[in-house]
């Protein structure tokens, strides 16, 4: 026979102002099975919790209902109090009479009645609750870091330095990401490569880090603490153990006019190439799409010149399998072009370039050795126009968000340009200057006041070419919308920062959510910024939203701290609110008929197939089985099961029906 205790909280005046709490408690005391029913001003306070603990002991309660706020607030508090008094914590439930009742209704008889109904419903549920126990799962103390940009590098180093092993996977032939492409960094103007390359080398040399470049994630199975991943190591067509990185192959390669990805298309590379001099690892790859041998069947120059005979034309992709306990997605961003709106002439005029292309022009390691030369004719640009929000913050262009980094890098570009071409003219067209960050506003002011960059508040409507110049038609909205035409040699667009190529596909592989722009979604925008909704998978850097370097590095360290925190436990506890498949004695074994509708319905891939065998090992029946580590307790399988063979622990069909019948 159930012995249930009901505890009605006033929550100060939050509940008692509209609900007659004493009356609720009194009504409930008359419900069969309720042996104790009281109200109190603050149930969550220490005396309130003591009331619950004492009642459990004195009245030998088998279930507890606390009528108070949302279970999101205090369920852990009251369940702990029950556990202290020796009651299984899953025999304690909360009736939400605050958010669901007192806050949303006027004071009236009906409000009190509704509160009573909410409590009655929970009493009927608790009457049918079973004791549950947290699920324990082991932890593999190796982290997988996806992406070798500054975010991935920081996260990998932090985790590795805490003593755990890390597997880093980078899609490109070298780690370094976009930061390696940058010339100088705001707001200090220190050389990007100078601060990044030591970290890249550290990753390569760290005993706890295994680096797989030119590799991609193939698949992920498993759950927090126990992921199994497959990594596709793409064929470099080089024997890395023999290659010394001498560079002779690239020097002799006859295919020299391929647009370089590292130089954002403003420079060229060969078909066998190392993306940049400080690449880690310093081993070339063969770009088979552009290699004469792969395309036309002849050449093999690299093979002939290689002093260590390291070229392998017949090399194939390999798949590496690994067990990891946590995954950090640090796959970064891409800079969108502007060809999707034609009025700026991007793609049509070679001297209209993106910010990333300007970085390469301004970089000492770039195709012009740091001189600001026009891509069209190689002359020094005497007038340069920088345009912010080229696509961003414009619903008509389909990108409503702020790309965040452009205001700062355009100020930096204009400043770098003025430092290189003293007599040159630099204009920045802007909507707002968003310089929120340590020393950021000062940096922009410096560009305007010390380096005399002309900032014009207004949008550019059109860019067209006339007599070898680019005519930039804009307006100065601070001078009454006066139209302005600037005849420029070079136009730099602060184009939108967008999610990396393949972000959607990766998110689906990882089973993490993403926003409409394919940036990965954090579990909570304020309180859980580096976690995803899938336990054990964390986020770092611009794969989540546009970010600059300081923010990316902070977030990467945050993600690393989460991973290290996870790895500090020998096993993990999980809520036991999971689905279970009905099992019974032979010859039925289970109500499950093995249709596996549940398998395709499960969003977490938690349904497995279990073979029931006799003593000779013959398979008698195949039934569904829920992997307790993966199941999130969503209940989709329960709703779909045609024979009602699956039930959700803590929310069984019987419990839910009883709740409804009680109304």
């Amino acid at each position: 026979m159930a012995r249930i205790g009901v505890f009605v909280c006033h929550c100060g005046e939050n509940i008692s102002a509209t609900v007659d709490c004493a009356k609720v408690a009194e009504t409930m005391s008359g419900v069969p099975g309720v042996v104790h029913s009281v109200d109190y001003k603050y149930m969550c306070s220490d005396p309130g919790q003591t009331m619950i603990r004492d009642a459990i002991k004195e009245k030998n309660l088998t279930g507890v209902v606390v009528a108070a706020c949302s279970p999101r607030m205090h369920e852990p508090t009251f369940r702990r109090a029950c556990a202290d008094a020796g009651l299984n914590p899953y025999l304690c439930e909360m009736a939400n009479v605050r958010e669901h009742c007192s806050w949303v209704h006027e004071k009236s008889e009906a409000t009190t009645e509704k509160a009573t109904d909410l409590v009655r419903v929970m009493v009927e549920k608790v009457r049918r609750n079973e004791p549950l126990f947290p699920i324990k799962v082991p932890v593999t103390k190796t982290a997988l870091v996806l992406g070798g940009g500054v975010a991935g590098i920081q996260a990998a180093l932090d985790i590795a330095n805490a003593g755990h092993t890390v597997i880093m996977v980078e899609r490109e032939p070298s780690i370094g990401g976009h930061m390696a492409q940058l010339s100088e960094t705001f707001p200090t103007l220190d050389c990007s490569q100078c601060i990044l390359t030591p970290r890249m080398v550290e990753v390569a040399q760290h005993p706890n880090i295994t680096l797989h470049t030119y590799s991609e994630l193939e698949s992920v199975e498993g759950f927090i603490g126990n992921f199994n991943v497959k990594i596709r190591k793409k064929a470099r067509h080089i024997d890395e153990t023999l290659c010394t990185g001498c560079g002779l192959c690239a020097l002799k390669c006859p295919q020299k006019k391929i647009p370089s990805e590292f130089d954002a298309g403003v420079g060229t590379r060969t078909a066998i190439y190392v993306p940049f001099p400080q690449a880690v690892p310093n081993k070339p790859v063969i770009d088979t799409d552009n290699c004469l041998y792969f395309q036309k069947g002849k050449c093999r120059v690299c093979e002939k010149v290689c002093p260590t005979k390291a070229i392998r034309y017949d090399q194939e992709d390999t798949i590496i399998e690994a067990d990891v306990g946590a995954i950090v997605a640090a796959t970064g961003f891409e800079v969108k072009g502007c060809d999707f709106f034609p009025e700026y002439g991007f793609g049509k005029y070679p001297d209209v370039i993106t910010g990333l292309q300007f970085e390469r022009l301004a970089s000492a390691s770039g195709p012009t050795l740091g001189e600001i030369r026009r891509p069209s004719d190689g002359t020094i640009a005497e007038t340069v126009v920088f345009i912010s929000c080229a696509g961003s913050r414009d619903p008509a262009k389909g990108i409503e968000y702020c790309s965040k980094i452009c205001c700062m890098y355009l100020a930096k570009h204009a400043m770098l340009y003025k430092h290189k071409v003293h007599h040159g003219k630099a204009y920045v067209f802007y909507m707002d200057i968003r310089a929120g960050g340590k020393m950021y506003e000062e940096f922009v002011r410096r560009a305007i006041e010390e380096d005399h960059v002309s900032y014009i508040r207004g949008r550019v409507s059109r860019i067209y070419e006339e007599d070898g110049k680019l005519v930039v038609k804009g307006a100065d909205t601070l001078l009454g919308g006066r139209p302005i035409d600037v005849r420029a040699d070079l136009v730099v667009l602060g184009t939108a920062v967008v999610a990396g190529e393949g972000a959607e596909e990766l998110a689906q592989k990882l089973h993490i959510s993403y926003d409409p722009y394919f940036f990965f979604a954090e579990a909570h925008p304020k309180l859980r910024p580096v976690e995803t909704n899938t336990a054990g998978i964390f986020l770092a850097g611009a794969c989540q939203a546009p970010r600059d370097i300081p923010e990316t590095v902070s977030q990467a360290s945050g993600a690393a701290a989460k991973v290290v925190g996870l790895f500090s436990q020998s096993e993990l506890s999980r809520e036991p609110v999971i689905a279970v498949v009905h099992r019974t004695a032979p010859p039925l074994f289970s109500k499950c008929v093995g249709c596996f509708l549940c398998e395709s319905a499960c969003p977490y891939r938690a349904i497995e197939r279990e073979e029931i065998k006799d003593r000779q090992g013959r398979v008698l029946k195949v039934v569904a089985k829920v992997n307790p580590g993966l199941c999130q307790g969503c209940g989709t399988c329960v709703a779909l099961c045609r024979v009602k063979a699956i039930d959700l622990q803590g929310f069984t069909n019987e419990q839910v029906f009883a709740e409804l019948v009680a109304l």
Binding site: F341, P342, E343, A396, R462, Y464, E465, E466, V471
Partner: protein
């Protein structure tokens, strides 16, 4: 077989831009399309109505739409860009707002289902050419460099019209290619011509039209191609008000797209109304390579 198409000429096509009407009818006739005027049509309200009275600016086009519906027309060809804009915008606004639609229907005392769709001249030509190849109908390829000028209203507002790229439209250019012309890449195809200010501020219209004509000529165009009576009259009629023009700038003709196509289809110049232009349409005969 003759295909029938609803047709709303508006005031310009009956007056100052008679040649647009003549050339459209001639081309459509050649393509086997019979244009059927909306019975008892009225003024679209143009620029005047929507500056003065919102209900009036919706009621005038709404009546036209209702009349077209009543005549069983599914599509109405509306060659004038201003008329087209007013009809499309009215239909859109009333579709979005049931209460307003009821109010307007009440004012015009007619049923309003909004199932007659206004289409512009390019869409009308496309419709007429469905299943036929324009290239194969060409008898005298228009072997000239042309600058297609779209003006403002044919592609704007993009959210409502969803026709072509608003900042770099190409539909006219592509149609010109099909009749043998060489459309140039130029910078002023959607700049403002000054529109209705032609009367009140001729000086402003001259100022706005000058760079359009200058850029077209500078980039080698031999003719400007338009699809709007306002654009045509401003560029054609106000040439004398533009100061400091070169010989070539003063003489570049402004043709309606229907006239240009009509020439390529071998229709007589008179039937296309070419003699009505102020800037003489004196395109030299030119042999086409391979023709």
């Amino acid at each position: 077989m003759t295909m029938k198409m609803g047709f709303y000429p508006g005031c310009s096509l009956k007056g100052s831009s008679r040649e647009f009407n003549e050339s459209l009818c001639a081309v459509m006739d050649k393509l086997g399309v019979e244009l059927e005027e909306v019975p008892d049509w009225n003024c679209c309200g143009a620029t005047a109505a929507h500056n003065l009275n919102h209900a009036l600016s919706l009621s005038l086009p709404a009546r036209i739409l209702a009349l077209a519906e009543g005549a069983g027309m599914q599509e109405i060809a509306v060659p004038c860009s201003a008329c087209y804009s007013r009809l499309v915008m009215t239909r859109h606004e009333l579709q979005e707002n049931e209460a307003l639609k009821a109010e307007i229907a009440d004012i015009i005392e007619m049923d309003l289902a909004l199932n007659a769709v206004p289409i512009n001249v390019i869409q009308a030509l496309d419709r007429a050419l469905e299943g036929a190849s324009l290239e194969s109908l060409v008898v005298a390829p228009l072997a000239y460099k042309v600058a297609c000028y779209y003006g403002c209203l044919m592609v704007r507002p993009p959210k409502v019209l969803r026709f072509d790229q608003p900042e770099d439209p190409m539909t006219m250019d592509r149609m010109m290619e099909r009749v043998g012309a060489e459309p140039i890449d130029w910078a002023f195809k959607v700049e403002c011509c000054g529109a209705g200010f032609s009367v009140s501020r001729t000086d402003l219209v001259a100022k706005l039209c000058k760079p359009i004509v200058t850029d077209a000529v500078k980039r080698g165009a031999e003719a400007l191609i338009v699809a709007c009576p306002m654009c045509q009259s401003n560029l054609d009629m106000r040439r004398c008000a533009i100061k400091g023009m070169s010989e070539a700038e003063a003489h570049i003709p402004v043709l309606y797209i229907t006239q240009a196509i009509g020439l390529a289809l071998g229709i007589d110049r008179k039937d296309l109304g070419l003699q009505r232009h102020l800037v003489k349409v004196a395109l030299p005969r030119r042999a086409v390579v391979g023709a």
